[in-house]
Structure formats: C-alpha cells, structure tokens
C-alpha cells in the first residue's frame, strides 16, 4: 500500500492525516490516566480474594485502619447505593460480602498516603474464608450438575437457531470439536483513575481511562446512590482497551474512597491486578457438523457452542449471540440448527474483547471449511469462493445481508498477493522458529500456508440503540468539535477533524476534551465509532454547513441549495460567487449538536430468527508459517489480507488497525492464554502471559477493498475487529498444512505439534 500517494495538502477524508496527539505521545507529555494527580491526593488499592469460590466468614479491618498513613478501609457494607453493577445484568458485587465467586474478586479497598502503605494495609485486613470447591466446568453449569453459584443461576444465556430443513443433508459430512483458550486484552496502559470529591461531598469528578464514559457514570451513580449529574467523568489518556475497559473496574472503588475521605484518590492497577481486574475473552468449546454437496456447497450446519462466562455476566449474553449468529461464517447456508450456551462458573469473568464472540466461532467454521475442502477435493480458496456470501443473501437468522459483501473479492485479492520468497539456504538465526533460543537450523523447518475468512457484525445488536452525540461549532473559520467518544488509540481524534475539514472547508479543527458534559457517544467497541461517532460528527458539521450556507445565501440573496464547499471556499454552483469559509464565518458563531442513530435491530426469537445485527464487514487472511515440527515452535512469516473497509477514511490508520489486529490474532494462535488450574490463574504477569514481540511479528501485506457502504454515514465500515478474527484460524491452518496435525485448539502449544 502506497501511503504517501494519498497524502494531500489538506487533511480531509481519505488522506492519511497524522495523529494530533502524536507530538505529546512521542515526547512523553501526553497525560494518560495514570499520569494525573492532585494535591493532597491519597492512593487507593483493592483487596482481592485468593480463592475462586469461598464463603466470607468474617472481615476484620481493625489492624489495617491503625496503620499510620491509612485513611479509610471500605467493604461491602459501606456501599451507599446499589450493591452490584454490570453492563447487561447488574449481578457483580462492588465488594463481595457473603461469597467470593472468582479468584481476584474485590473484597475491600483502602486509601492511604503511599502505595506501599496501601499494600501493608491490605495485608493487615483479616478475611476468614470457608473455602469451597470451585465449579469450573461450564458443562456442569449447563446440565445443572452443580448448585447455583449465584442467585441468578448458572446459565447466563441459552440461544438456539433453527433455520430451514432440519433433515437436509448431503453426501459430504464433516465435523469437529474445537477449543479456544482464554485470551487477555493486555492493553499496556493499566487501569487507572483519579477521583476528586466535590467540596460538599455530594458528588465527584473522575478522570479515567474507559471505553464508555456515560455507561461508567451510570453504574458509578447507581452504586453511590447519587444522581448522575453529580458525577462528572473526563477521559484520561487511554493506553489501549480492546474490550477490557467496557466493564467498570476501579471506578466505584475509587469514587467511594474519595467520598469517604474527602480527598482525591488515585488508583492504578499493577499488571498482576489487571489480570484480575478486567474481563477476558471467553474460552469456548464448539462442536460443528457441516453437510455439503459433492461439489462443496454447504447444505446444513449443526453446532453446539459453549462459552465459559466465568463468575459474573458482564457481556456474556451478547458475546454468545455473536457466537451463534456467526458460526456459519461468511458462507451461504440455508439450513441450520445451533445451540449456544453461556455458562457461569468460578473462573474469572469474561466479556468483551476485540472480535466479541466471533473469534471463537471463526476458528471453528474456518477449521471446518478446510475439512470440507479436503473431503471435496477442493483447495481452501475454491471451497470458500463457492460458498461466499453476497449482498442480499440471508443468514441463518433469516436476516438479509444488506451490507456490501465483497467476500469473493476479499478472497481473490488476498490470493493474488505474492507468497513470500522461500527461505534462503542460510536464514538469519533470529528469523527461524525459536528465535533467539537458536533451537533450529534451516533443515528442521517446514513451511505451511493456511486460510481464514470472516464476517463480523458492526455496532451493537438486538434492539440496542447505541447512538452517538457530537457538537460542532464554527467560529471565525475555526471548528471546535465536542463528543464523549473514547479515544483509546484507534484514532478518532484524527478522523473527527478530517470529517470537519471535508464537510466545512476549514483547516483548523479543535477537539475538546471528552467528558460527560455532552450526550453519550456509546462505547468505543464493536467496530462502531467511525460509523457512529463519525456519523454524529458528520451530522453536526452538516447542520452547521446548512446554517452557514443559509447565512451566505441570505447575504448574497441566492438559494442556499446552490452553494457548495470547494476546498476551503464556498462557491455558488450556478454563479461566480466564491468566498472563503473563514471570511464567510468571520464574527459569526454557528453551533449544532447531532445524534446519530443506526437503523433499529430486532431481538432473536426462540428459534434464533430476527434482524439482530446492524451491518457486517468481511476480511480474508492467508498465513504463511515456518514450523519446527520436532520442537513444535512456530514463526509466522507473512500474513496477506484483503479487508472490506467500505471506504478508507484514513489509510494509514486503517493499516495500523490491520497490522495491530493481526498481531493480536497471532497471539491467540500461538502464545496467548490465561492459564487456570481449578479456578486459580497461573500466569497473571507479562513473564508468563506472552504477547508477540517485534521478533514474532510477521510481514503484513494488506489490500483495502473499498466499496463504500450506502448504509454507513461516511461509506466506511468499522475496521478494528475484522483483522484479529480470521487470522487466528489462518495461522492454525498453516500449522496443519506444515505438520499434518489436526490442530483443534488455540493457542497451539508446542506439544500439540510435536507430541
């Protein structure tokens, strides 16, 4: 991709405009939420359960409170409002009071003068537990073999999809069982917030790293028993999110400590605590059976999908819906029966992570497509082309795909990307599997190629109206934008000014701080902000442009409909008038607020039928891997991809999303997993939870498929999630190709390859 070709004089839509926060970020002066502080501030810290399942017999804080420097200790009984919180179901205690249901569940919080004082105070809190045997098997939760571990029961959601002829079958039948491990979002910027109480103690201000300011505010207000307008949230710099900041973590605890002490409270998690402080990607087990004709056309799909939701609901119900509604993949299928379960266990709670339920489904359906290809004697490319969804096709939910669906093109363009050159006779030792460990020589390596293609819904589903709000003000040729959209690194702060420049013909665009003084922008998740907040900014700018045109038209006594923006001027399309926007708006203020709503969606009925999703995006991945088959070590050499982006509003940002998503999908494929033994997390650190390094990163060759989506406000589809979805099965397939092993589980462990 030639990025310089699309740079132009003005940073309008379609150009690779550079990040406005780039300067501060490269200089270290950008204020992340962990960088903020206040005079007279105290540190907050959380006491967490060491047991996955236990009854709390007693909590004794008397020794802790005596420690010099400790200002307060709070437990469940100190929560003034609602005792529980949650995104969909409010089922998670702010502090456990009777029972702890997962390792790491908060039990108490302290405020003290120094982090070390906090640690000592936590160590001095005496909690007596009656330890229970944890229930860690989701199948037991589903079957009812174990008693309910929560008043709401052990089944977080069940959803069936029944579609078409249940007796349909074909000459080719392939089935498999697949397993996906628990992945962590592992954003680098740990959870952090500063809570500043109001002087009157009746409210507070919080600077916090989150994906959704307004939802945080709602949950904090409920737990504190305060009206929402008493709580003001400002977005602190966010060091990545990937779903892990959709649920609240330390927000209520920090607020509570601030109100109790009357002093500002800074809380920030350590990496170890972060592993316990946010939800993870659901581990899942998926059984699938495909029925197909001899020429490889899918006739029916049967599936049973089990997602381990862990101890609390979080977004499990929505993740499950994504799982079951995407199990067909980007392939036509008229008949289906799918059963999906999200189960409660004493494992860590799971919820949102980039790909949101579709990652799990995709590993299963893509593994199946390769089996199908083999059974039909077709290539991985051919089987996928034959079944590729097109615009207008109906999904197994009965929903027609109204989005542009260039699946076939994604596959063909990916296939056209040249394969990497063969390994040289004496490759650099660090380029081999095993890397710096120097385990392999050239002759130990086998190369494999594999495919993955995926479909991903965009925005929230099932009747949720996840609107976004933005305000645009034009004054003296300068635009000021206001929205509450969480900038987590994705680049909305780059895109929003691009929109304003294109719509209004201005150059200078100021983005005000993101906070709760304006309406909600919804969450930075579900690949939705370019579409939703982009739509809101676009809408607000268009309203301002209408006002500006009306003003200019009135002054020149012409019909405003004749006016247009041309570069930085307003022109009369039927005349000779040309006036710079800066001049036309001199001394004037135009201000408009716009809420963008996507079209309504429906709930799924008991047979899983309904137009539950808003829109879809598609992507194809081809992975080339080198495998040391004897040691089971893998180096991903190249990922080729063609992604359906609708319209690349900022090609450099899009490429960044693609490369970054691929690295996360690679992580899930070969190294990233939160390991548990009987509910105990064994690797809550970066020493043992391995993330891809610079020496693990493959070459990425990306093609952007630009077929603007008429539904999308700017023609652009969300691009954040698709890159991380089908790259995982593509890598797994490439390992299969190199080794002949079945590879039914990700992450693929060395022993899965060589033992």
């Amino acid at each position: 991709m030639n990025l310089s070709a699309v740079r132009t004089r003005r940073d309008t839509l379609g150009t690779s405009a550079l990040r406005p926060d780039g300067g501060p970020k490269v200089q270290g002066s950008f204020a992340f939420s962990s960088d903020v502080w206040a005079d007279n501030m105290l540190w907050g810290a959380t006491l967490r359960s060491p047991h996955p399942y236990a009854r709390i017999v007693s909590i004794d804080i008397s020794e802790a409170i005596k420690i010099a420097g400790v200002e307060t200790v709070v437990i469940a009984e100190d929560v003034p409002g609602q005792l529980t919180y949650g995104l969909i179901d409010s089922d998670q205690p702010v502090f456990a009071s009777e029972v702890v249901r997962y390792m790491g569940e908060p039990v108490a919080a302290v405020a003290a003068d120094h982090p070390e004082t906090c640690r000592r105070a936590l160590a001095a809190i005496r909690v007596e537990y009656e330890v229970y045997e944890p229930h860690i098997n989701p199948e037991d939760s589903i079957s009812g073999a174990v008693p309910a571990i929560h008043p709401n029961g052990n089944l977080l959601r069940y959803q069936r999809i029944v579609c078409g002829d249940q007796n349909a079958t074909g000459p080719i039948v392939v089935e498999g069982e697949y397993e996906i491990g628990m992945q962590d979002q592992a954003f680098l910027g740990l959870e952090a917030a500063l809570a500043i109480p109001d002087r009157d103690g009746a409210g507070l201000e919080m600077i916090v790293a989150t994906q959704w300011l307004h939802e945080d505010r709602k949950q904090i207000a409920l737990c504190l028993g305060l009206p929402e307008d008493k709580i003001r949230l400002t977005l602190g710099g966010v060091g990545g999110a990937f779903g892990a900041r959709e649920d609240i973590s330390l927000q209520v605890h920090a607020s509570l400590l601030a109100l109790r002490t009357g002093r500002p409270i800074k809380m920030q998690y350590s990496r170890e605590e972060s592993f316990f402080g946010h939800v993870h990607r659901h581990p899942a087990k998926i059984w699938v059976r495909h029925h197909a004709s001899a020429d490889g056309m899918i006739i029916k799909i049967e599936a049973r999908m089990v997602f381990d939701g862990g101890a609390y609901a979080s977004t499990s119900a929505a993740v499950l819906i994504n799982g079951v509604t995407h199990i067909q993949g980007p392939y036509r299928c008229a008949n289906a029966i799918v059963d999906g379960f999200a189960a409660r266990t004493n494992n860590p709670p799971c919820g949102a992570m980039r790909g949101f339920g579709v990652v799990q489904a995709c590993f299963a359906h893509e593994s199946q497509m390769d089996k199908l290809a083999l059974a039909c004697g077709l290539s991985p490319v051919e089987i996928r082309l034959r079944n590729a969804i097109r615009t207008g096709d109906r999904l197994i939910t009965g929903q027609p795909v109204e989005s542009v669906a260039p699946v076939e093109r994604c596959i063909r363009e990916t296939d056209a990307i040249p394969l990497p050159p063969d390994m040289t006779p004496s490759p650099h030792e660090l380029s081999l599997p095993g890397g710096s460990g120097r385990t392999a020589d050239r002759r130990h390596i086998v190369r494999g190629v594999g495919w993955g293609v995926s479909i991903k819904n965009l925005m929230y589903s099932e009747t949720f109206d996840d609107f976004a709000t933005a305000r645009c003000r034009l004054q003296d040729g300068v635009v000021t934008l206001k929205f509450a959209t969480s900038e987590v690194g994705q680049g909305f702060v780059t895109l929003a000014p691009q929109i304003a420049r294109s719509v209004l013909g201005v150059d200078t665009v100021i983005v005000e701080p993101m906070d709760t003084t304006i309406g909600s922008a919804g969450s930075t998740s579900a690949s939705r902000q370019t579409w939703m907040s982009g739509g809101a900014v676009d809408g607000a700018c268009r309203l301002v442009r209408e006002r500006l045109f009306e003003h200019v038209a009135k002054e020149h006594n012409i019909d405003p409909l004749r006016l247009e923006i041309d570069d930085t001027d307003i022109i009369d399309t039927f005349g000779t008038l040309r006036i710079a926007v800066a001049n036309a708006s001199a001394g004037m203020v135009f201000e408009e607020t716009f809420e963008h709503h996507h079209r309504p969606t429906e709930d799924l009925d008991e047979n899983g039928q309904g137009n539950c999703h808003v829109a879809f995006a598609f992507v194809a991945h081809r992975a080339v891997v080198d495998v040391d088959t004897e040691l089971g070590l893998v180096k991903v050499v190249q990922i080729a991809t063609a992604q359906d982006v609708g319209r690349a509003l900022n090609p450099l940002s899009v490429l960044g999303q693609i490369e970054g998503g691929i690295a996360q999908g690679l992580g899930l494929a070969v190294m990233e997993e939160v390991l548990m033994v009987n509910g105990i997390v064994k690797n809550p650190s970066f020493t043992d939870y391995l993330l891809p390094t610079a020496l693990d990163a493959p070459e990425v060759v990306a093609v952007l498929i630009e077929e603007p989506d008429p539904q999308a406000p700017l023609g652009a589809k969300g691009v954040g999630e698709p890159p991380c979805i089908s790259v995982t099965p593509a890598i797994a397939a490439a390992i299969r190709a190199a080794t002949g092993r079945a590879i039914t589980r990700v992450p693929v462990r060395p022993s899965d390859i060589c033992l």
Binding site: R119, S270, E272, L430, P433, G434, G435, S436, G437, R438, T439, A440, D441, H444, E630, L631, G632, L633, K635, V670, M671, L675, V677, K682, N683, S685, T687, D688, L690, P692, T693, A694, L695, D696, R749, P750, S751, C754, L755
Partner: protein, 283 residues
Amino acid sequence: MSIHLPQTLNEALHMLQVVPHAQILAGGTDFMVEVNFNKHGVHDVIALRHVDELKKWSHDTVAGVVTIGAAVPYADMEHGELAQLFPALAEAARTVGSPQIRAAGTLGGNLGTCSPAGDALPVLFALNAVINVASTHATRSIPVADFMRGPKRNDLAQDELIVSVTIKTVAGWQGYAKVGTRNAMVISVASASLVLDHVNNSSRIALGSVGPTIIRCIQAEQWLQGVYDFTSHQALDDSIATEFGQRVSQESRPIDDHRSTALYRRHAVGVLAKRLLQRGSAQ
C-alpha cells in the same frame, strides 16, 4: 531500613559483615521484580552498582583461564572477545530477557537466584565453571555444580558475596539452545548447553528448566565418549545424535507447570541435545 552503596569490594564485604541480613542488589532484574510484586520486603540493601571490580573480566592466556566479574552485564557477553572465548555463553546471554534486561542482568544475579531456568547456568555447568565467593575473612572457589544446591538455593553463606566466575577456555565446539514459546524475551521451557572438548576427547552437556537444579548428563556424556571420537572430525552418524538425545532426555527430571509439561520438556531437551551435537560435530 538502609541502603549502602560501596565503591570497592572490600567495602561491600565489610558492609555485609556489619549488616548481616542485608539484601544484595546487583542488576536488580530479579530483586526488583520481587519488590514490585510484593513478594518480599525491602530492609537493608547493599547495592553493588558502583563496585567496579565486579564489572571487569580478565583472560589469563597462559593458564587458559577467564575470570568474569559477578556484575558484568550479559550485554558484554553477547559480542566481542568474551563471546569469542565462550560462544555458548554468548548464545545464552542473548536469550536472557530483553536487551534492557541484558544491559542490567549479571552472572552474579543468575547464581544468586539459582533458578533452574537461569539462562546462563547450563553453560556454566557445561564449562565446569568455578564460582569465587568472598567474605571479609576468607575467599572460596566452588565448582558451580556444588554451588547450586537446589531450586533457588545456593552454597553462599550469609556474609559471603559472589565475586566472579572462573572458566577454563576449551579447545573445541560449544553451544547453547533454549526453547521458549516466543521468539524473544521468554523464560526457558527447556535449555541445554553442550561443550565438546577436543583435547580431552570428551563432552559435557548440562540442562536447564528440566529439573530442580541444572542437570549434567554424565551417563550420556560417557556413552558418547565410547561411541564417538571428537578429535576425528568425522561426520557424526545421525543415529548417534539421536541416541545421545534420547539418553540426555532420560537424565532430565522435568515437572509440569504453567510454562509447559514434563512430557514436552523431556522431549524438547532431547531434541536440543541431538541438534547441539549435530551442530558441534559439523564444525
């Protein structure tokens, strides 16, 4: 609670005498992890940062002996003269953590911690290194195999400091390999260092992360000596390498943990032994 920053070795030893339960801080890459993760407290620290004597190494070419100061960082072993003298040590050093860790981490630290996953330790075992320790009243030189007493246990007395490591240069081939599930910055799942001594026509192989301590595979070494002449420069039969790997594997004593399984470790370490022997004999 105190911190001491001695400028000389003598000063450091004296402080150790005065502050008997002092915590020794060298590169900090183990010590500070424990502090940051609240695994141990901090009371009285003797930091060796400014003790230049411990950061030097020397080569006695007549005796064929190299002495490496306990506080020489791994970065200094990766390249240059030390790397040429001990290629296996260079290869091991290159796998220690990240470049930032290698700029700080030291042999003294690996020996002080004595984790079976310490990357440099198998090399020290395969090279028959001797650990030089000192107190105000005495110095001792201890073969590394005796120094490492168990997982995270060593022979150091409370008033002693690890001063240096002495290694004889070896005529012959030496190498190191380490399995981890990432291509860089990874804790060893299994590692091995092999030294082929052309003068004495013998081999030494030591394994990391596959037992409570570093394991020297004496039986496999003896077997190899019986079937292969290191001085002959003859091509090694693949079957010998394979059997050597199997025999090494049998001498390993790995366990299951969150980083891997005993089964895989036993397998992997055998593969490493086989490949190292093939590499060494191909030279």
